[in-house]
Amino acid sequence: MSESNAPQRDYQICSRCVMDTSDPWIVFDSQGRCNHCSDFLNQRLAVTAYRTPSNDGLERLLASIPRGRGSHDVVVGVSGGVDSSSVALLAQQAGLRVLAVHLDNGWDTPIALQNVLQLAGLSGITYEAEVLNWKNFKAVQRAFIAAGVPDIELPTDIVIQAALHRAAVRHGICTILSGGNIANEGILPVCWMYNPRDSRYAESILNFAGLPQAFFTPLKFGFRKELRCRLQHRIRTLYPLNQFLYNKDSARQQLISAIGWQSYGGKHCESTYTRFCQLIYQPRRHGIDYRRCHLSADICLNLVTRRQALAELARPAWSDLDVEHDVAFVARKLDYAPAELNAAMANPPRWYVDFNHRQRLLGFAYSSFRLLTGRRKASNF
Amino acid sequence: MIAHHLVLVISLSCVRIFQSTSELYAILWQLFWAIRPIINLKSPVPVGIVDYGAGNIASLEMALIAAGGAPKLAREPSDLSSLAAVILPGVGHFGPASAALRDSGLAQELCRCAIAGLPLLGICLGFQLLATTSEEAPGASGLGLLPLSSQRLRPRNTILHKVPHLGWNTLHAVNVCPRLLHGIAFEKRRFYFANSYAIAPDPQMLATQATYCHEHTWLALLERGTICGVQFHPEKSRSQGLQLLRNFLALALECG
């Protein structure tokens, strides 16, 4: 493997939040504050209720959704996690007819499935599953690991979008409600999770691994498909959790009392692969600690102090895990011997810049779109 | 010891909360046994699994590792040295199993170790092998560590009670709660059984016993000093089975 094109940095950590040079492209100002928290405070929060508080932002958003046409009013992707479960519940309580779509990518955990079942049982919610062909998907996941990039969860993100839009088109629904929210996800370096809409990037990764494009075609959902969905089918994605002061802890409590939602333990995630990615793979291969993202956002929102965040980060991300068991399980599922997977994780890290991508072109396209429609930037891309 | 300090701290804070001292002592005792395995098992406990050709060893190995043990297979008498405890598993027939134990010399060595105080846990057929005889193989003899014998299950009501006794059954402690069941709530005292032969409980015997019901009452668990036996399969009995193995390893540490 040739060396990565990522810049070599001396270690530095932000003086305001806890993002550091594990994002090789991080920029610090003269006071040592990073671009992430500056962006978050100055721009990202602008689309949320944190900057424009209102009592009825959520109601207005839900009221703006066209109702009564076709079989359902909205599509919601449900994973069993807090965010998507909250959105599904909010929509159901607002009287919307919800199509809850669960993507089975072969990594479901029992508790997450229990939570999905609780939601599926609510009146007003119709459940639909999209089951990926595991052999195909396994090959794509292996390709991303072979490539050495941190965003090995990208295939799942791509497929979820594809599944939701496919469901929307199939049922004639024009609104997708997303559990995405700035409060928790507003800080996320591009190099840690690159744009799922950039098909060129994903195709480049598959090429590198020697995988035929046929493996990716059924999964992909790129910029063009997204555009077609928006213009031809008039499908738009809304973010209800940005319309109020969304707090994960109180959301959890609400879910527990409303539907007997179960927590899988803060760090353990609703997908075995996500747990592996964030708590084992990224720390080991790239020195990335994914917790820095939500902790930095929490610092900016005054939910935790920087000292508390640093104390939490001092404890390794994997300290509550049976790492050997998790690695053995992931290895077996992906057809690696455990030693092979450990060896793959010890290979030098690579980043999205080491592969073909259309970041500039897509960036231009999105900026133009925002200019024409007056919308604000709600995500990284 | 950390355990003692922890118990002291908790007890001091408990004094204000609880009305009666007896209630306090009961809860402290439960707490002590619940946390003790966690605190003590810092380094894995070396526990032998007797490998004599009969038994589901793979599951037991994994379960012991999960419970904080370091399992080592014991195929010859010399393998039983430098262990904190030993487990005698067993699935199959009493006759060939007891012959295999004798022929390998393991039977004699196991008896010697057990009498010397090495904690021993017999599982399923292994439990029956700790006893003297079994109806399954009239001429054969077990290790003779327990003055008990196994008999064939012969329920009268064969519609309701089948043989083999297969599935999840509930344990009932005879008088005191066995140490192996500490930390396992009453409603979770269901374990996985797969047996056609059973041992009747002996009320005269000085041992902690727990029973199960399959038309009649049979011995599910026995503790006599450091010699323990369970008729069921803790390695397949979910979280409660794992807790039982932890309790056994804690017993081993205590004796070590």
């Binding site: 077996r332 | 793979a58 199959g92 089948k162 083999p164 006794h165 056609s196 397949k236």
Partner: protein, 263 residues
């Protein structure tokens, strides 16, 4: 006392894909069997039954590497089957950490194999799958292995008693006609069979909802009920959503009532 076991059934094909069948014919892709097994283990299922449905037609045994993974990553009692024809294979499977091995097709060629296996490994490790077809008139017929029109099946009771005599530890009575139909179990046949046999019986095939289980268990105290569709699909749908605790809790609540029926 012993409680009836609720047993999810995982059917695996030659490509090691998890599938659901209808009347042994049409197959629907369900996903990755290893993850499904891991999920049901997390749900603390009473037992898991995993069958390789292409093994015997392809003249091979359920792959040991696959069973090794199942045993490694699950913590519940496992019964596996599919193309098992020799004592060495049974020994290999048991050594991996499996509780019971299910025999089927081999017994149609060599019925004495059952006694050999039971003697060598103990009855409690040997299950037999009897595939049952109920003609419109006449007694139910059973086969070991795929129901073959060219082979006359034996009367179910006769074959079941022969298996019991030979040392089978458990019988899995698989109603072929009801497979995947979700119309319920064949209660009268199963109740009668349970009356006549002294070994545990597990019913398989046809379960669509809890009512079906209740109907069966009220009529007879079967040792276990196995189901595929019930645990694989979201209730009253054809959409994949693995679940178990709901059914388990339901059964716990029904037990006092059921136990009264049995006494």
């Amino acid at each position: 006392m012993l409680q009836p076991r609720l047993i999810p059934v995982l059917l695996v094909d030659a490509q090691q894909q998890l599938v659901k069948t209808i009347c042994f014919g049409r197959r629907q892709y369900i996903g990755d069997p290893l993850n499904a097994a891991y999920v049901f283990s997390g749900f603390e299922a009473d037992e898991l039954l995993v069958l390789d449905i292409d093994a015997s037609t392809q003249g091979r045994c359920i792959p040991l590497t696959f069973v090794a993974a199942l045993a490694r990553f699950t913590h519940v009692p496992l019964t596996v089957g599919g193309g098992v024809i020799s004592l060495e294979q049974i020994h290999g499977l048991l050594a991996l950490g499996v509780e019971k091995v299910a025999l089927s097709s081999v017994l149609s060629r060599d019925f004495s194999f059952l006694q050999q296996a039971a003697t060598r490994f103990g009855s409690s490790t040997i299950s037999v799958i009897l595939n049952v077809h109920v003609p419109e008139k006449g007694t139910p017929l059973a086969w070991c292995g795929r129901p073959d029109i060219s082979m006359l099946g034996r009367p179910l009771l006769e074959l079941a008693l022969a298996c019991q005599e030979a040392g089978a530890g458990e019988l899995l009575i698989h109603a072929v006609d009801r497979d995947g139909q979700r119309q319920g179990y064949d209660v009268p046949i199963l109740a009668e069979l349970n009356r006549q046999l002294a070994i545990p019986l597990v019913a398989l095939g046809g379960c669509g909802n809890h009512g079906h289980i209740a109907d069966l268990l009220k009529a007879s105290p079967l040792s276990g009920v196995a189901a595929g569709s019930l645990f694989i699909y979201a209730p009253d749908t054809q959409q994949v959503l693995l679940h178990y605790p709901l059914s388990h809790h339901w059964l716990q609540e029904q037990l006092p009532q059921l136990q009264e029926c049995w006494i």
